[in-house]
């Protein structure tokens, strides 16, 4: 069976919701408390060395990965998962250097999304060039 044949039509929403429920309170608090101030940006060395593009900002990564999963209540497509995979593996190395004035644990949120991706067999392509 090829990989394309083995892959289900849509991600397993039940599994995604299980992960989200297990970290529900901290996740909701983190997304709620985030004041969208952008002060975390300069603490991320990837943001600083990639032309200071907004998509490398820690809060941008958290909102566009975990935030997306939470807002859509786990009902996301494989395309969305590909976008999230790019965010949590290519744009973040979980160095935990990111600073939040409100004390949000951004790396833990990114790590949670990585776990969700793994549960859906969405894995990084470490062999990929560039």
């Amino acid at each position: 069976m090829t990989e394309a044949e083995a892959k289900p039509e849509a991600p397993d929403r039940k599994k995604i919701l299980e992960f989200l429920s297990a970290h529900k309170t901290k996740m909701k608090l983190s997304l709620n408390v985030c004041a969208h101030c952008g002060l975390c940006a300069e603490s991320c060395f990837i943001y600083m060395t990639r032309g200071k593009k907004p998509e490398y900002m820690p809060s941008h990564k958290m909102i566009n990965s975990l935030g997306k999963l939470y807002k859509k209540n786990g009902k996301v497509s494989w395309e969305t998962f590909e976008e999230i995979k790019e965010i949590v593996w290519k744009r973040c190395v979980l160095c935990t250097r990111c600073y939040c004035p409100l004390g949000i644990d951004i790396p833990e949120m990114i790590a949670l999304v990585r776990s969700i991706c793994r549960s859906q067999n969405v894995l990084p392509d470490f062999d990929e060039e560039g």
């Binding site: 608090l29 709620n32 644990d105």
Partner: protein, 224 residues
Amino acid sequence: MYEFIRGPMAWACFSIFILGMIFQAVRFFVLTKRVQPAGLPLPLRYERKKIELSRASLPSLAAKLRVSVAGVNPLMTFVTVVFHFSIILLPVFLMEHNMLFDVLWGISLCPCVFSESSADFLTGVILACILFFLFRRIFISRVRSISTFYDYFIILLTAVPFVTGFLAVHGFFEYRSLIIMHVMSVNLIMVSLPFAKFVHSIFFFLNRFFIGSEYSLSTGSRSW
């Protein structure tokens, strides 16, 4: 309607605010657990002993400040601190509010209240800070990229009590309508504060002083 908004509605909103804040604080302590601080020297962590402001300690303190958010974003830090202190000080020490407290409950901070000119100046400072936050959100791409309608609404909602209060005190437009808007906007802020984005007002202290991390402002005695 005027009496209802100023009376029962304001009381109900204030009660929701107090109960909501208590709920959030209790929930924080229920959801976190006490842990032993790691005891490792972390770069930006405060020492247990007092920070001595002697000549010898200055280079170290200066280095710490330089890599902190105050050093990296000095203007934003300054405006944030001024803004947050002002929005607490102005309502508490405003002469008109203290006259109201005196009539209602027989308590007031008079004569330790702002003069009219000082209150006007502080109102101007607050509105300037709000404009700074708004322009920052519009013109700085990284902040704009994560901003939603909700963020802009919150900023403008914060401005309404100060604008309406200023206009009412100085006799612009119709006093009663302005006071209704003034009280309604404060009621809305009070009700939403424990549950909306304003909740950062309490979580700033809870997270930064209790949760252990590199950026903890204390020994970090709790963990999620």
